[in-house]
């Protein structure tokens, strides 16, 4: 890598910043001095929360090589984020803003150039069983029946099939697919497949559950039903969840906090706490409070898109 082939492109308010690759390897202080971000007030309010921090991301920078131009482009630009135990945090932003890349980096599927990811205060680098990812496409192994799809992660972790099978039945119950253990994925509807996908992730008993647009591939009605189901499920199992979605209503319905990412490269534009009490039900979508929250989030995203030159 030569020293001038990195161009960090981001527009934040009026300041135009250009970051050279040397900075990527420079110390934290130098970087912190070069780039300082407006911290949303709500972030400070969060400090009063004394639940344990499960997932902590500091100064995360992810670059990628643009094959067309040969430049290294920055997809995620110095993101800080803490997710506490039992919290449901959702990232929203325009398509292609880098939020999926961000999630992939946390899962360990994409290498980051700078910064650190900690799960339970332990630095992680690469995939691991402390995080489990649910993808947009159910991506079930088509030659395995439902039961063995759920235990796939466990088997990779070295669990004996017999022991894994016992565990599977619990999760089949949880996602209400009793009687479907011996079905092949092609025999299930899209919503059912996605439930199995969810169970596969939960079966690994991860510290943090990562959801990458989990319902984007489903039709609108099934999506609504699945959102309600996930709401119920999360309140039952009490997992720490980080989700990425396009759907603002989905984000507001499910989350404790909604993080808005700026477009390409991604950084945190806003961190909004959703003050709706739990347990929640799907019909809160029609409430005025809900609509107001949605339009507030939408206006932030839209404002950012206009600055960025339009998408």
């Amino acid at each position: 890598m030569t020293n001038n082939n990195v161009i960090v492109a981001s527009e934040n308010g009026s300041a135009k910043r250009v970051l050279h690759s040397t900075l990527l390897t420079a110390g934290v202080e130098e970087l912190d001095n070069t780039l300082s971000f407006p911290v949303d007030l709500q972030q400070q309010l969060k400090l009063q929360d004394n639940r344990q921090v499960k997932l902590s991301i500091k100064n995360l920078v992810i670059g990628y090589l643009d094959k067309q131009t040969g430049h290294t482009m920055v997809a995620v630009d110095k993101v800080n984020l803490d997710v506490r135990e039992g919290e449901f945090v959702t990232i929203v932003g325009l398509s292609g803003c880098g939020k999926s890349t961000f999630l992939n980096a946390i899962a360990g599927l994409v290498k980051h150039q700078y910064g650190e990811i900690r799960v339970n205060d332990r630095i992680v680098n690469g995939p691991g069983t402390d995080r489990a990812m649910v993808f947009q496409k159910a991506s079930l192994l088509p030659w395995r029946k439902v039961g063995r799809n759920i235990t796939y992660g466990l088997e990779l972790g070295g669990m004996k099939p017999a022991e894994a099978k016992e565990k599977a039945s619990y999760f089949v119950n949880l996602i209400r697919l009793n009687g479907f253990e011996n079905h092949y994925p092609y025999q299930l509807s899209g919503g059912m497949q996605q439930r199995v996908n969810l169970a596969r992730a939960l079966a690994c008993d991860p510290e943090v559950l990562l959801l990458d647009e989990p319902f984007a591939a489903l039709d609108a009605i099934t999506r609504e039903l699945m959102q309600n189901e996930l709401l119920e499920l999360c309140e039952k199992v009490g997992k720490t969840v980080l989700m990425v979605t396009h759907q603002i209503d989905e984000a507001v319905l499910l989350s404790d906090r909604v993080i808005i990412f700026a477009a390409r490269p991604a950084y945190v534009l806003a961190d909004i706490t959703i003050p709706i009490s739990r347990p929640r039900k799907g019909h809160i979508k029609d409430s005025e409070e809900f609509r107001n929250l949605m339009s507030r989030i939408w206006s932030i995203i839209e404002g950012n898109a206009n600055i960025g030159g339009g998408i």
Binding site: G108, L109, P127, M133, F135, S139, S189
Partner: protein, 269 residues
């Protein structure tokens, strides 16, 4: 999009199948009967074209005098040895070809050249190298059967669903685990297709080898009967080859469907 359940073994499906079989065989019967009539009324020269009835008689004769069994066992031996060798070499080679880019690049030109050359042209070469005995025939079968296997396994390795690999990696699978839990199951249906095609080609190889430079076997029998104008016996031999081919194809097709059962057939509406 909604899937409808399909009961493959339902009664209606069975009925349809039987009907199709009946319609199909009625056309075949028509074909055979008109062939027989053409012969009986001397429309065709009996020296060149036999008749179904005479083929059956010839078939009985070669079964009775044992010549069919002798020749068939020779051909079977050549086929089985060559086919087995093709699997033993072709299976790992095809997988490596698909899995490792370097091997793909290195052997690519050879495979392309060998594939493009009609293998039959290598027959004189094999005769020079391995003589007129059984070895040269086994090599011909091997060379004919190996390419469908290699090609199918290579394609299998390169068409693995990248989403599945993504999932496996996210769950922390090692390269070997990815191979075992994803690449291998993906390749099974392809392997079955490869085996089926390879059987057909291998059979072709046996016949070719025997027609060209044999002193025994079904191919030789056909060739010899042909050059001595025993037309009935030629057809009798061809019938044996055809029946063997169809049986082999059918069996391997069934086996392939068994390994493919997770794909299912669904109607979507």
């Amino acid at each position: 999009m909604r899937k409808l359940t399909v009961f493959q073994k339902s009664n209606t499906a069975k009925k349809e199948k039987i009907l199709n079989l009946l319609l199909g065989s009625s056309v075949i019967t028509l074909f055979l009967v008109s062939w027989e009539l053409l012969f009986q009324f001397k429309v065709v020269n009996p020296l060149f074209i036999s008749a179904p009835s005479r083929v059956v008689l010839a078939e009985i004769t070669i079964i009775k005098d044992g010549s069919l069994l002798t020749n068939l066992s020779v051909s079977a031996k050549e086929f089985l040895l060559g086919y087995a060798a093709a699997i033993i070499i072709g299976f790992p080679f095809g997988i490596m070809l698909g899995w490792f880019k370097l091997i793909r690049g290195s052997f690519g030109p050879f495979i392309a050249a060998l594939q493009a050359t009609p293998r039959i042209a290598l027959m004189p070469l094999f005769i020079i190298w391995f003589g007129l005995g059984i070895t040269s025939k086994i090599v011909v079968v091997l060379m004919s059967a190996i390419f469908p296997l290699i090609v199918n396994l290579r394609v299998a390795m390169t068409t693995i669903d990248s989403d599945l690999i993504h999932v496996a990696r996210a769950y922390g699978a090692s390269r070997w685990q990815i191979f075992r839990s994803i690449a291998f199951p993906t390749s099974l249906p392809f392997l079955m297709t490869g085996l089926r095609l390879a059987a057909g080609r291998g059979l072709l190889g046996v016949i070719v080898a025997e027609v060209f430079g044999g002193a025994e076997g079904i191919g030789y029998m056909i060739q010899y009967a042909g050059s001595t104008f025993q037309t009935d016996k030629v057809f009798a031999g061809v019938l044996v080859v055809a029946v063997t081919g169809i049986t082999l194809d059918f069996t391997l097709d069934r086996l392939g469907r068994y390994f493919d059962r997770w794909r299912g057939e669904v109607a979507v509406h």
